[in-house]
Assembly symmetry: C2
Homo-oligomer: 215 residues x 2
């Protein structure tokens, strides 16, 4: 298809597509004349991933480009490739190393991982961006004196394990390894606000059940 | 206790405490001389909530002030008060009303809520900030052609229901209604990065289980 049709079918304005092409967020089309190129389904798919990262995930272009480079790396095992693509997503704040709460948090996170038998995470440790974000978040809880021990975190981790099964089931609906990696990245980003808003609605339901005065 | 002790015990610099007092994020102490005031445990507790909102939650001062006003409203039922305080937290993007994907998303969210029997959320509907955020997030999925039907969302909602039970159990560890509302707000904010990073670690574990090549 030509650029105009790619724009129609994706709903992305032609000027925006040209910008993504210039920024190498979208691979070039197959050149058919000096001024025209032909685009395929892979461009449509890539375009929706770029939209997920930039429009919904609010990622800077440079970060999105790194995520896409990880997505495209076919030299990796599928498992490593999924991990690398998700690792390239923007990370939360890093733990403050000079803060005693960080040491406490790191110990509790390790206890939690051992208890759940999350061997892969224990082995990756600080190399994993999510591990660093988790330590920083648990340190913030500890510093403020809120529940932050492995026992307090365990029910959240068990819910996360269940979510991951749902996530991977969704990802496995896609056929090729490339489509799966694209979906893993997009769904990780797009389902975060879904999950957080469902949690707030569920809190209201549960609060109503416990404290509500109406029958 | 005096300001210096409040600073020592909370770990918040005296200058920052003075700033919070000026911005009315912290109630004034009990005046004992023309230049000195006495602070109590309620100041220590409030200080950690303010830190959770501003330092961890990255909230603007004006938003934090609105959240605190909701926390302090003793005229409300405990259930309504918990809801009002959490509603005052910063919300995600609003759904785009002129987008057909928003209509599709709203229908799927309503189907989901009916299926789960989340009556309170169905009744509040768009009045609830989390409902709006959920509709916008589901619309983004629908627009990009990713799984976004009530069937796709249901496992996430079931995980959220379980999380809400854990959240409310944590909140009920606090004794007074005021402490519970403070904890509800702080823990909603502080546990979001915990939950999202646990999900990413759990994804890596699950991906390794399904696609890993090592024994």
């Amino acid at each position: 298809m030509r650029l105009a049709e790619l724009s129609d079918r994706s709903g992305v304005p032609a000027a925006t597509i040209k910008y993504y092409l210039r920024e190498r967020l979208l691979p070039a089309g197959r050149r058919i004349t000096a001024t025209q190129a032909e685009y395929g389904d892979e461009h449509l798919r890539r375009l929706r991933l770029v939209r997920a990262l930039i429009q919904v995930g609010k990622m800077p272009v440079a970060t999105a480009r790194q995520v896409l480079a990880a997505v495209e790396d076919e030299s990796l095992d599928q498992n490593v490739r999924l991990g690398a693509a998700v690792w390239a997503l923007p990370r939360g704040p890093e733990p403050a190393e000079d803060d005693p709460a960080t040491a406490v948090a790191r110990r509790e996170v390790e206890r939690l991982m051992r208890r759940l038998d999350w061997c892969w995470s224990l082995e990756a440790g600080d190399a994993s961006p999510a591990w660093g974000t988790l330590v920083a978040a648990v340190a913030a809880l500890a510093r403020l004196g809120y529940p932050s021990e492995a026992d307090d975190l365990a029910p959240y981790a068990r819910a996360a394990a269940q979510l991951a099964v749902t996530d991977l089931d969704l990802i496995e609906r896609f056929r090729t390894p490339l489509e799966q990696v694209e979906a893993a990245v997009a769904l990780t980003v797009l389902y975060e606000p879904v999950l957080l808003s469902l949690r707030r609605l569920a809190q209201a339901e549960e609060s109503n059940r416990r404290f509500g005065t109406e029958g």
